[in-house]
Symmetry: C2
DNA sequence: TCGGTCTGGTTGAACTCTCAACTGAACATA
DNA sequence: TATGTTCAGTTGAGAGTTCAACCAGACCGA
């Protein structure tokens, strides 16, 4: 087994530090200004972009990179807030369809500007166009390298 | 306020997707193979690298980019496992020093190879040297752009 | 049509994290 | 020495996540 050498360690720690701080900042901003965690925001976004502002739970889980369980709990909470409602799936009686309510849409409209601003300020404004191109490639490479794993998890646990 | 354009959205989503999948993979691997979340692993690493394998709680929080509260809960758990113990700080009676036990060190030795392998497989092995250099710069830029925010949070909440 | 298996989704318990409140010690000032 | 403030760390409650167990409907071969 090969350890990380000094260069690799520096890169690794720099990367995790940046990602940790960045995601925590976004989470804190959204929680403070709109009272919801990023995970819930992403559910609302996914629904808002779907036809009829609705998606089956399994589709939604896929889009949000969320486990079924997590999504189920989250949608339960969002439903209690009145931002989402669930309705039966006509074609498959096992299925359940999450629908973004008007109130949910309004909340999303209120939350989006602050969130987008935070993303812009701390990602797009601090990187050069060249670095952004590079970041896209890097993301794609990491994602691709993870395909196998995720498929395996899906197979083993019926998750994702 | 400026929304993200199509290019920016593609980059943004690619980035969050990659980061989410990557960190979840690491967390799952460590939890499955060594029964601990990455956050706890990082505490053990930080202690193992400190002189006498010990650090004051506040130092440890700083190194781990963790809030005092989170760290306190985490160390309580690690103490219950017998991987860490707390002792009084001689120079400041408010202080508390976390010490990595031999058992804790052994657990870390057992967990490290799998974790490092996962990091290598899904980060260093999928990126070119050029991309790694670029990633380091990108991380540094993001981190730097967040300095102000973190200082502000520190000031407001006495956290970090 | 029956039984077995797979799939979509939910649930509860255990765990981790966050936030705010709190304790006790240090420090500064009068 | 008394008082107010700051600092280190802990605690408990509430919120979100994970994991495993579960239910019910769909699917499939005999």
């Amino acid at each position: 087994m090969r350890w990380l050498n000094a260069d690799e360690q520096r890169i690794w720690r720099g990367f995790t530090t940046a990602v940790t701080k960045f995601t925590e900042h976004l989470d804190r901003q959204l929680q403070r200004d709109s009272g919801m965690p990023v995970a819930y925001y992403e559910i609302l976004v996914a629904l808002s972009e779907a036809p009829d502002r609705s998606l089956r739970m399994s589709e939604l889980a896929l889009v949000c990179h969320s486990s079924r369980s997590r999504l189920s709990h989250a949608v339960a909470k969002l439903e209690k807030e009145g931002w989402v409602r669930r309705q039966a799936c006509p074609s498959d009686r096992r299925g359940s369809i999450a629908v973004l309510t008007d109130r949910g849409y309004a909340v999303l409209e209120g939350a989006a500007p602050g969130h987008v601003t935070a993303v812009r300020e701390h990602l797009f404004d601090v990187l050069t166009p060249e670095q952004l191109r590079s970041l896209e490639e890097i993301s794609r490479a990491i994602d691709k390298g993870l395909q196998g794993e995720c498929a395996q998890v899906r197979a083993e646990l019926g998750e994702f």
